[in-house]
């Protein structure tokens, strides 16, 4: 093994370090906590042959590697968020040693404190609105067009159905977002996910994250359930609670 470096998963406040026993980093590495004036950086050793600059640029092109690292990172952040107020770091933040980790935490201290204040006692929820790609199917009793006029009428009706569906989807996305926003302390719109990545046939018209008070989550999901019922043509998906990834942005 070449010189180890420190991979930083998250910066936390009020971390119960003992609660992380049983959580591991990459390749089973021990999770360590670098304490610095009230903040805890959650780290593990990584090998620079894997996480050095040159290997990283290569590894980031390897989906299996990215998935393994992203899932491990996510699991560690998840455990930290379960036992502290946790600001997750972006993927692959690597420092030379613990002194460097402390120096970096120091340089961002007031920003980190602001982030931790913002997310304390709150959790992230994911809300998506999906719309079927195809227009609503014709009634099952459909028969071949009887005439040219009949054919054109049917084409027009199909086009109307498509337009109705698009309008319905746009309305649904707006309303679902408004309802979620009203029950959240902050919200963030993410890019709709590409169907090639999700493997789903529906079109995503809303992909958003909401920061919700931990004790308000039932009201939040109930309000979205009700909003979903107003729009039977679309699917509303609510997932959570998650660590507050989308709200741990500095500045």
């Amino acid at each position: 093994m070449s010189a180890p470096a420190r991979y930083v998963f998250a910066v936390a406040r009020d971390l119960q370090v003992a609660e992380l026993a049983g959580t591991h980093g990459f390749h089973g590495a021990t999770i360590d906590v670098v304490e610095h004036e009230g903040l805890s950086a959650v780290v593990c050793d990584v090998d620079l042959e894997e996480f050095g600059e040159e290997p990283l640029t290569r590894n980031l092109e390897d989906l299996a590697w990215v998935e393994r690292v992203a899932r491990t990172h996510n699991e560690v952040v998840w455990m930290v968020a379960a036992v502290s107020t946790c600001a997750p770091l972006r993927l692959v933040t690597v420092c030379a040693d613990d002194d460097s980790v402390r120096a970096k935490v120091d340089s961002l201290r007031s920003d980190l404190e602001d982030v931790l204040d913002r997310i304390e006692g709150r959790q992230e929820w994911s809300v998506k609105v999906l719309v079927p790609q195809r227009p609503v199917a014709e009634s099952p009793r459909a028969t071949p067009a009887a005439s040219g006029a009949d054919y054109l009428r049917r084409k027009r009706e199909a086009s109307d159905r498509r337009r109705d569906l698009t309008e319905e989807a746009v309305d649904a996305a707006r309303e679902v977002h408004e309802v979620a926003h009203d029950h959240a302390v902050a919200s963030r719109r993410l890019m709709p996910q590409d169907p090639r990545l999700t493997g789903r046939t529906e079109t995503m018209v809303l992909n958003a994250a909401y920061l919700v008070e931990a004790q308000e989550h039932e009201a939040f999901t109930a309000a979205l359930h009700a909003a979903g019922e107003q729009h039977p043509l679309v699917t509303v998906e609510v997932e959570g609670p998650w660590p507050a990834y989308s709200f741990a942005v500095l500045g």
């Binding site: 989906l63 420092c95 890019m191 979903g228 997932e239």
Partner: protein, 74 residues
């Protein structure tokens, strides 16, 4: 066909919750958001580039998967 999927209604974050999240949802957050603390190993890649890498990698892998599956079709 409406469906509200409140899979994890408990307030607590659990390990099983982490395992259920899709890779795309994780990458949405791990690449697009989160605290950016410049490490010593500077991968001189802006967030946008990482997203491109992810898209390229994922699309390539999806295509490879599809090609394999089509190849296996009788």
């Amino acid at each position: 066909m409406n469906e509200v999927d409140g899979r994890a209604t408990a307030v607590g974050l659990t390990t099983s919750g982490a395992a259920q999240v899709s890779l795309v949802d994780i990458l949405d957050r791990l690449l697009g958001t989160g605290v950016v603390l410049a490490g010593d190993v500077t991968i001189s890649l802006a967030g946008v580039d990482l997203v491109d890498i992810r898209l390229n990698a994922l699309i390539t892998s999806v295509r490879a998967d599809m090609a394999r599956r089509e190849g296996r079709m009788p």
